[in-house]
């Protein structure tokens, strides 16, 4: 076996130019596959990140009427929807994919929040529990967070995000200013923001509409003060944090199932998860479909490369006829002879494959530089293509190898 490899490298090395030219087809084929797949996966990764955000892995499960979130300000909540209590949380955190969960109320904030004459005409108001900030991946930018007493003593305090801060205070410090929420005075105690500075990569107007946050600001108040503003029996939504980005879909679905279990009847209002990952997948499929055709085209060049390898191996068999004859005379069996040529073809294409990977990665970087599309190199694909190129070698080396093994030693020795 070792000897086979040694002979293979010898054979390749002793005809450097020829081997290089033979490999070229394989190199081009593998390089295009690597470059295309890296770009595809980069785009997919970007779509996923843009939609899902970087690493918060939070999924929101809310009441939906059909395809839209039910807002109790405008819509009737059906009888069979029971208000949720903290007791449901252990059932949710029991789900394998769920790390943490938090209950919250939410309403459209239109025309409800004022600071002097400045009002919010979009955005939402949230009634939250103590876990909400950590589950959602929010951190306090300035001021303070909610304290346990705020909840216990029904303190009218609020946290706002940057958008709200800019709309109401026009850049002035919002801390300790009193705002009006539904005519009730609330003191702004802090400003919060996402814990990971994440801005979606926007390369087109479509991206802008797909990825940018149009929610228009968030105002958080302690859930305990919610009933003084709104109804007591408003249904809650649940924010869950999944263990990983890929578990988001499952975490959302399982949570929705648990919540739907509390419904005492059925209708078109049910709990659903706002599944960004699923949305991402749909977008990815769109981009995959076109790129998959490119992979096929690249595979054709690999096929052509393989035929080139076969051609050269046939020449090599003819060239080495006396050597094959000698080996057979000395007792080498057919299997040994064919193994030698198969190894040589395999090693040749394998080296071609590795060079192709390098060229492909280089190409992908270039494409990324020029077009701004990110790339994602999957080592799984790199390994697979190298193995595949080896298999191409074995496949196209088979005919020459069999031909070499079939040579009659007498004829082979006679030909000098």
């Amino acid at each position: 076996m070792l000897e086979n490899f040694r002979e293979a490298f010898d054979g390749i090395w002793s005809h450097k130019l020829r081997s290089a030219l033979t490999m070229l087809g394989i190199i081009i084929g593998i390089a295009s596959i690597i470059a295309i797949s890296s770009t595809i996966m980069g785009t997919n990764e970007q779509i996923k990140q843009n939609l899902v955000g970087a690493g918060n892995n939070t999924v929101e499960v809310a009441l939906y009427q059909g395809d839209y979130v039910l807002d109790p300000t405008y819509q009737q909540v059906p009888e069979y929807v029971r208000p949720l209590t903290e007791d449901i949380l252990p059932d949710i955190t029991k789900i394998k994919e769920v790390q943490d969960a938090s209950l919250f109320y939410r309403r459209d904030a239109y025309g409800m929040i004022w600071y002097g004459s400045e009002g919010l005409n979009q955005g939402s108001i949230y009634g939250v529990d103590e876990h909400f900030l950590s589950v959602s991946g929010y951190v306090i930018r300035c001021g303070r967070s909610f304290l346990p007493e705020d909840f216990k003593t029904f303190k009218k305090v609020a946290l706002i995000d940057r958008t709200v801060s800019e709309t109401l205070f026009m850049g002035a410090n919002p801390i300790n200013k009193t705002i009006e929420i539904s005519s009730e005075p609330y003191v702004v105690v802090g400003e919060f923001t996402q814990n990971t500075a994440f801005t979606p990569t926007i390369t087109s107007i479509n991206d802008y509409f797909t990825y940018t946050d149009h929610s228009g600001g968030k105002v958080l108040i302690p859930a305990t003060t919610w009933p003084t503003l709104f109804a007591y029996d408003q249904p809650s939504s649940v924010m869950v944090r999944a263990g990983s980005t890929d578990e988001m879909t499952e975490a959302g679905k399982q949570t929705a199932a648990v919540l739907n279990g509390t419904l005492t009847g059925s209708g078109d209002v049910t709990y659903k998860s706002k599944d960004l990952l699923e949305q991402a997948k749909k977008l990815q499929e769109l981009s995959n479909a076109t790129n998959r055709q490119l992979i096929w085209i690249a595979s054709i060049s690999l096929l052509v490369g393989g035929i080139g390898v076969m051609n050269i191996m046939l020449v090599s068999v003819t060239e080495r006829t006396p050597e094959i004859g000698l080996k057979k005379a000395l007792g080498a069996r057919k299997r040994k002879i064919s193994a030698q040529f198969l190894t040589e073809a395999g090693v040749l294409t394998c080296i071609g494959g590795m060079l192709g990977v390098l060229v492909g990665i280089g190409l992908a970087y270039m494409v990324s530089r020029v077009s701004g599309v990110p790339i994602f190199i999957s080592w799984y694909i790199v390994a697979a293509t190298v193995v595949f190129s080896f298999v191409v070698g074995l496949f196209f080396g088979a005919v020459p190898a069999v031909q070499a093994a079939r040579l009659n030693p007498i004829d082979a020795l006679r030909r000098e």
Partner: protein, 225 residues
């Protein structure tokens, strides 16, 4: 008796293109004999050699080698016999240029699945036997023609074969180098090796203890005194 040929016929081609090469060849070789086969080119001596060396199969007749009739055995079996029981020496050496002397010698051992360390030891031993102990790691292109042929002989004997077949072993050498090769053959013969050699040089054939002549596929024996 190591070789016994009975009524061996060999014909190439078929139908109208049939070309008979060997006619009713009968021949016996005792263990330890040193035989030369002479004949003009085209007389069938190479064909006879190929049949003796299991490189070819006779069309009819029986070939008993080492007590066994393997004349029409399978390819793998023939490869095994060639590897273990027969040593070949060719006119044009047939050395692999990219292998050192000892690696060339060890080649048949590799096909015989001898362990790596053992291969090198036995190759060196064989090279000592042909007087090349100081050329063990040389490449063929660093050796003279005579030395190359000695490497080839070492390769033929390192498997300790029953039979050494030499096809014009001195054909490509000058007379001095040829002499040396013949001396080695004499020495191997003295050690008990059975040798069958093809040649068309009388001076070379004279060294053998028995000379067979082949003309147009007919074998005739001429006993030497």
């Amino acid at each position: 008796m190591i070789i016994q040929l009975d009524h061996i016929e060999k014909t190439y081609g078929s139908g109208a293109n049939k070309v008979p090469v060997l006619h009713d060849v009968n021949m016996q070789v005792e263990e330890g004999e040193y035989i030369a086969i002479m004949g003009p080119s085209g007389s069938g001596k190479s064909t006879l050699m190929n049949i003796l060396g299991y490189l070819d199969t006779p069309t009819s007749g029986t070939y008993l080698f080492d007590g066994q009739d393997n004349a029409r055995t399978g390819d793998a079996r023939m490869a095994r016999i060639r590897n273990q029981k027969i040593g070949f020496v060719f006119q044009s050496f047939h050395l692999m240029q990219r292998r050192r002397a000892w690696e060339n010698v060890a080649l048949p051992l590799m096909y015989g699945n001898v362990r790596r360390s053992e291969r090198k030891r036995r190759a060196e031993e064989a090279l000592c036997q042909v007087g090349l102990e100081d050329r063990i790691s040389f490449y063929p292109n660093q050796l003279s023609g005579g030395q190359c042929q000695r490497v080839a002989i070492a390769r033929a004997i390192c498997t300790r074969p029953k039979l050494l077949l030499a096809d014009e072993p001195t054909g490509a050498l000058d007379s001095k180098a040829g002499q040396q090769i013949m001396d080695i053959f004499d020495e191997l013969h003295a050690q008990g090796m059975t040798i069958v050699m093809i040649t068309h040089e009388h001076a070379v054939a004279e060294r053998a203890k028995r000379i067979l002549y082949i003309y147009d596929g007919w074998l005739r024996e001429e006993e030497r005194v």
